[in-house]
């Protein structure tokens, strides 16, 4: 049967290549879509996890960094640092802003911190050193054609771009980083409002602990001693931010992924149906010269299996290339297509549907008169 299948595949190599390419493309589409959801979660999680804190203090009732506004009283920092086991509590503030250039507007989340919290490594340029400087995400640089040494203007204030950082977007919004001196200057010089008391100065405290200190104990001590803050581990905030993404976009993405899977698997079934139906004459000839039905069915199934087995790695590779291309040309979106569960499920689905699609035309062949194939 496998020889028969191989024979068919070799008989028309171009058709076989097209079959493999089509099924690989379907697999790649399914994995890429799944990868959009996985990448969104990774991006959201990294906002909290990449801040370099052992614990994060937030306004009571707030438990996120992304999509949240946390304001803490200035005195909270000293109170937190006074708790035993706390090495330092570094301030951090977030400010949602919109950058407009040449009629194109992009929302961005500005993270303000002095030491802990800002990236220590950049893809291009250098880290923050002085007043008026900003680090921007690669995606923002690409969207607006910005580079190191240029100005980023927001609300009439010009930040000097000193570095471009990699992969710091969340919820399809790029992050940017600056320090507190720049924030104060921005508040005073930008066309924001007459009175600046509405604008946050201290949003979060990034807490680092003394070496060897157990974080849960310190957390309880801070919450007991400083009622103005709630305290979470970075993992908890990351979980909450990921959940936020699921709540906001989960239904939309799940619907699209579901449709893509249904469509993809249907396409594969129809694809194999068309391929097998196109071989109707060959199958009819085999039947006419006395090949047993069992062998013909086995040959058709083996052909489907071989096509999927070759298409699967090609599809995975295509998905990986697609994700890398997206990373290069549209870095706002992180696509992680190669989660083992997604790949396994997709390949299993392809096998099932391609088999079902291939077997379909056999019913037509069963009714085919052996003489019919010699009539043309």
């Amino acid at each position: 049967m496998s020889r028969l299948a191989l024979g068919w595949l070799r008989l028309d190599a171009s058709r076989s290549v097209l079959s493999v390419a089509g099924i690989a493309a379907v697999l790649a589409v399914m994995l890429l879509l799944q990868g959009v959801k996985a990448g969104l979660a990774t991006q959201l999680r990294s906002v909290a996890l990449d801040r370099g804190a052992d614990l994060i203090a937030v306004q009571p009732g707030v438990s996120n960094i992304v999509g949240a506004r946390s304001v803490l009283p200035q005195l909270a920092r000293g109170e937190v640092e006074a708790v035993a086991g706390v090495l330092a509590a570094e301030p951090m503030t977030t400010l949602p802003l919109i950058h407009e250039r040449d009629g194109r507007r992009t929302p961005l989340l500005l993270l303000i911190a002095d030491t802990t919290g800002v990236p220590r490594a950049v893809e291009e340029g250098r880290v923050l050193e002085g007043e008026g400087e900003i680090l921007i995400d690669r995606s923002l640089a690409r969207i607006h054609g910005l580079s190191v040494g240029e100005q980023l203007e927001i609300a009439g204030y010009s930040f000097l771009i000193v570095g471009v950082v990699e992969a710091t977007a969340a919820l399809w919004t790029p992050l940017a980083f600056t320090n507190y001196d720049t924030l104060i200057e921005f508040y005073f010089e930008a066309d924001l409002a007459d009175d600046l008391s509405a604008f946050p100065l201290l949003g979060y405290l990034l807490i680092r602990l003394d070496e060897g200190t157990e974080s849960s104990g310190v957390r309880e001590a801070i919450e007991a001693g400083v009622p103005a803050v709630d305290v979470y581990g970075p993992e908890q905030i990351a979980d909450n931010d990921e959940r936020l993404g699921r709540t906001m976009l989960g239904a939309v993405l799940d619907l699209l992924i579901g449709i893509a899977w249904v469509v993809g698997l249907t396409v594969v079934g129809l694809f194999m149906f068309t391929a097998a139906e196109g071989r109707r004459r060959d199958i009819g000839v085999l039947k006419a010269i006395g090949f047993p039905a069992r062998m013909i069915v086995g040959g058709v199934l083996a052909e489907a299996l071989m096509v999927v087995l070759v298409a699967a790695p090609a599809g995975v590779a295509l998905a990986r290339v697609g994700a890398e291309l997206v990373g290069r040309f549209a870095p706002l979106y992180l696509i992680e297509p190669l989660r083992p569960v997604s790949v396994t499920l997709a390949v299993a689905g392809l096998l099932a549907f391609s088999t079902a699609g291939s077997v379909g035309p056999l019913a037509i062949v069963r009714g085919l008169e052996p003489t019919e194939v010699f009539r043309r």
Partner: protein, 370 residues
């Protein structure tokens, strides 16, 4: 004659053509659904702005959005705006984009702080309960109440405080940004903010054009931006669209490539079966250009029938989505249909070109070999 032959030969393989058209239609349907879901959700974001009852929105200078934005204007600005000629009424809302917890499940919401008796900016259609809130109370979208199981008399958590659900509003739900209404003081406490509003909603006197009024407000009141509702809706939907433009374009490109492959594959299988007939055509004196034309006609027919099937499939899927997944808004615009039609035409042409070499290589003498 060649066109007639192309159509007839295609119709002779009805079953295969149907299967192929369905497969290509599936790829187009995927593109349609991407666009329809994105457009539906984007439009839903603007519903509050359109239905809040304002002709003009006044906000912090430098701000030109509600979506993904924050705005703070001093309370005194409201009086200044009210004194501008052409203003019939003005009301203020506090606004925050943040998490609201419905029986353990967090939703990212537009939280709007209003005052009792306020009509501008307050819920405009109620499914149940009342649209006015006192401190400690909240109005939530009816859809969200249904999905989360929190109804009238239940409580939701905004920030660190539990608020009593007193009303279920209509037309205020989107999967990405549902709108909840709380008392202004509750939101001010949550924001640790006194003496500020976020947006001023202005109604114009009869005979006063909103655009003219917006320009007048900007000229007479310092440090504010004024936009007509139309401008603000356009600005917000443009921003939301821009956030997803690249990913939608990417997915459209991937699905178009898939559709091209499928049409190409179909035509390849078809022309393989018609090898003898193509050879006869050449032997009869038809030029290579005629044979190309036949292939282009056939590819176009497959792509066109797939496009029609995809439109029908999308309509069915959209109505199923509305019925089953009430949390996702779906909207297919004529522009999206035209764009996908353009992609379909491109697919047919590229798929035909894939076959050009094969068609060109058919030898007239082949006809005598079989």
């Amino acid at each position: 004659m060649i066109v007639r032959w192309a159509v007839v030969s295609l119709l002779q393989a009805r079953l295969r053509m149907l299967a192929s058209s369905l497969a290509v239609a599936a790829a187009f349907t995927l593109v349609f659904m991407f666009r329809a879901v994105w457009e539906g959700e984007t439009r839903q974001l603007a519903t509050y702005l359109e239905r809040a009852g304002a002709d003009v929105w006044v906000m912090q200078a430098g701000v030109s959005n509600v979506h993904m934005a924050s705005s703070f204007v001093g309370r005194a600005k409201r009086r200044e705006v009210e004194s501008v000629e052409g203003v019939r009424a003005a009301a203020a809302v506090l606004y925050l984009n943040s998490m609201v917890t419905f029986s353990g499940q967090r939703w990212f919401c537009y939280i709007v702080g209003i005052e009792p008796g306020q009509r501008l900016g307050a819920p405009w259609a109620m499914a149940e309960g009342r649209g006015q809130v006192q401190p400690g109370e909240v109005v939530v979208p009816g859809v969200l109440a249904r999905v989360s199981g929190v109804g009238l008399g239940g409580s939701v958590k905004v920030g660190d405080r539990d608020l009593l659900v007193v009303g279920l509003s209509e037309e205020t739900f989107s999967a990405t940004n549902p709108v909840v209404f709380v008392h202004r003081e509750d939101l001010a406490d949550l924001l640790w903010l006194e003496g500020y509003d976020s947006y001023l909603l202005v109604q114009a006197n009869e005979g006063t054009a909103p655009g003219e009024l917006a320009r007048r407000i900007e000229a007479e009141v310092d440090a504010v931006e004024a936009m007509t509702t139309e401008e603000l809706v356009e600005s917000d939907t443009a921003l939301a669209r821009q956030m997803g433009t690249q990913i939608i374009a990417l997915m459209t490109g991937i699905c178009a490539a898939l559709a091209t492959l499928l049409v190409g594959f179909t035509m390849y299988v078809h022309t393989a079966r018609l090898g003898t007939e193509l050879a006869v055509l050449k032997a009869m004196g038809f030029q290579r250009g005629h044979v190309y034309l036949a292939v282009v006609v056939q590819s176009s027919l497959v792509a066109a029938s797939a496009f029609g099937l995809a439109l029908a499939g999308t309509a069915i899927l959209a109505s199923l989505t509305r019925g089953l997944a009430t949390v996702v808004a779906v909207r297919l615009t004529p522009g999206a249909v035209l764009e996908v039609a353009g992609v379909g035409a491109l697919v047919a042409i590229v798929a035909s070109l894939l076959l050009a070499r094969r068609v060109a290589s058919v030898e007239p003498a082949t006809v005598f070999r079989t």
